[in-house]
Assembly symmetry: C2
Homo-oligomer: 248 residues x 2
C-alpha cells in the first residue's frame, strides 16, 4: 500500500513553526474534539496528504503540552482521525557528546525507543516500564538524508538527575527526549510504522544546565529539524512501507 | 443534573477484581477500539449506570498497563464513549507513615493532584509539569465513609528515589501513585468531576522496598478499596454534582 497519508506529531509550536512555514501548511478545523488543545495543520507532498498535529497550549499555564501524556492522546487521535500509513514524531532532544552528538544534529531513532523514568522493579513490569518499542530499519533514509542514528530514551523531565542518567545509559540511548516512547507505544498498538526525528538542542553530558541550552538552541534545532523532516516526507510520500523499511 | 453515569478507572485487574465480584459487574464488548487492551465492565447502583474501565494487559509483557500513558488514554476513552457525570479513579498507592498513613488505609484525594516526575525548570513549564489539578471538596463523602484525606502525587515509577521524594514533599503529598494526575488532566480538559480513592499498599518512608510491600499488601488494599469504592458510588449515584461537592 502506498504512503498517501503521513501524520507528523510535534509537541511544541516553536519546533513546528519553520516546518509549517516552509511547507505552507494550513491550519484546519479538524474533527478532533474542540475541548482538546490540539492544533491540526494540513498540506500535501507529492501524492501524499500531510497532517501535522501539534499538542497545543495548556490553558492554565500558557505553555506547550510537552511530555508523554499529551503525546499519548495526540497519537491516538492522529491514528483514529486520519488513518495514517506512516507516523513521524519530529522534535528536539538532548544528545550525548561522548557518543558523537553536537548541537543542531538531527537523529533518526534506531533499534528501540525506551522509557527511562518508569522504574517498576517487579519482573515483567520492569521490562514493560522500559518499553523497548522496536523501530524499523530506515537505513536508506538515514543515509540519503545524512541523519545520525541512535536509540531514543524518553522521560517527562527536561533536566537530568543521576538515576535518569543511569537508566538512559542502561537503555544504550544517544538521545533523550520527552515524547517518543509514548508515541511509539500507541503506534505499536495500531501497528503503524513510526519514524522519529530528533534535533539536538543540548548536550546531556555537558556542564551547562539543560534549560539554558534548550532555550538558546531551540530555534537552530527547529530550523535543522524542518529541513530533514521535509526531506524525510519527500523520501516517503508515494512509496510503499516496504520500500522505506530496510529488512535484513 | 443527576449523576446517572459513573465511570470508574482502575489500572490493575487485581485492584479491580474484588470490586467486580462484589458488585457483580459484567464484562462487556464495548465500542472501544478492539486494538486497545482496555477491558470494560458494566453494572448498576441505584439509578446510576456504573462503567468500570481497567487498563488491561500489555501484549508483549503480560502485565497490567500501569502508569500515566495508559491512564491518559483510558480517561479520554471513558469520557468520549460513556459521557459520565462523574469519574472515579480507584487504585492503590504508597503512603507516608509520618503523615499518618497505615497499610490498608483508604484515602480520598484532596486539594490538588500533582506530578512529581515532570521536572521542567523553565518558567510556566515548571508549573505545568507539576500540574496541580484542583480537586473539589468531598468533605461530607470523606466523613460519611471514614476516608482519610490527602494530596496525591503521581509519577511513573513504583520505587522511590531522592529527587522524587523531594518533589513529593514540595507537592505536600500524603499519597504517591502512578495514574491520578494523568486522569485529572484529562478530566479537567472536559470539566468532569473526579473522585480519587487510593488504598495504601506500602509506606514510602519505611525501610522496606516498595515492590515487596506492594505485592504483599495488594490483596488487602484492594479488598479495602472495594468497600470504600462501593460506598462512594452509593453515596453519589442519583445525587447531583452540587449535592456531593462541598463548597466553602
Amino acid at each position: 500500500m502506498k504512503i498517501l497519508m503521513i501524520v507528523v506529531i510535534m509537541a511544541m509550536f516553536q519546533e513546528a513553526e519553520p516546518f509549517i512555514n516552509r511547507l505552507g501548511l494550513q491550519k484546519i478545523v479538524s474533527s478532533l474534539d474542540k475541548q482538546l488543545p490540539i492544533e491540526v495543520f494540513k498540506g500535501k507532498v507529492n501524492e501524499s496528504d500531510v497532517i501535522l498535529i501539534v499538542n497545543g497550549k495548556d490553558k492554565r499555564f500558557g505553555v506547550d503540552n510537552v511530555g508523554t501524556q499529551p503525546a499519548t492522546l495526540s497519537t491516538y487521535l492522529a491514528i483514529n482521525n486520519f488513518n495514517p500509513n506512516l507516523l513521524i514524531n519530529a522534535g528536539t532532544g538532548g544528545g550525548f557528546h561522548a557518543k558523537g552528538a553536537n548541537i543542531g544534529d538531527v537523529y533518526i531513532g534506531s533499534d528501540f525507543i525506551r522509557f527511562h523514568d518508569r522504574r517498576i522493579p517487579i519482573p515483567g513490569f520492569k521490562e514493560y516500564g522500559v518499553g523497548s518499542y522496536r523501530v524499523p530499519d530506515f537505513d536508506q533514509l538515514a543515509t540519503d538524508l545524512g541523519l545520525k542514528k541512535g536509540i531514543i530514551s524518553t522521560g517527562n523531565s527536561l533536566d537530568i538527575i543521576p538515576k535518569d542518567l543511569e537508566m538512559i545509559k542502561a537503555n544504550e540511548a544517544v538521545i533523550k527526549d520527552m515524547e517518543a516512547a509514548a508515541i511509539a507505544w500507541v503506534a505499536e498498538l495500531y501497528n503503524i510504522p513510526l519514524i522519529t526525528l530528533k534535533s539536538i538542542t543540548d548536550l546531556v553530558d555537558s556542564k551547562k544546565p539543560t534549560q539554558d541550552e534548550f532555550m538558546k538552541n531551540l530555534s537552530l534545532a527547529s530550523e535543522n529539524l524542518q529541513k530533514k523532516l521535509i526531506a524525510a516526507i519527500n523520501f516517503c510520500a508515494g512509496k510503499t512501507i516496504n520500500e522505506i523499511i530496510d529488512r535484513a
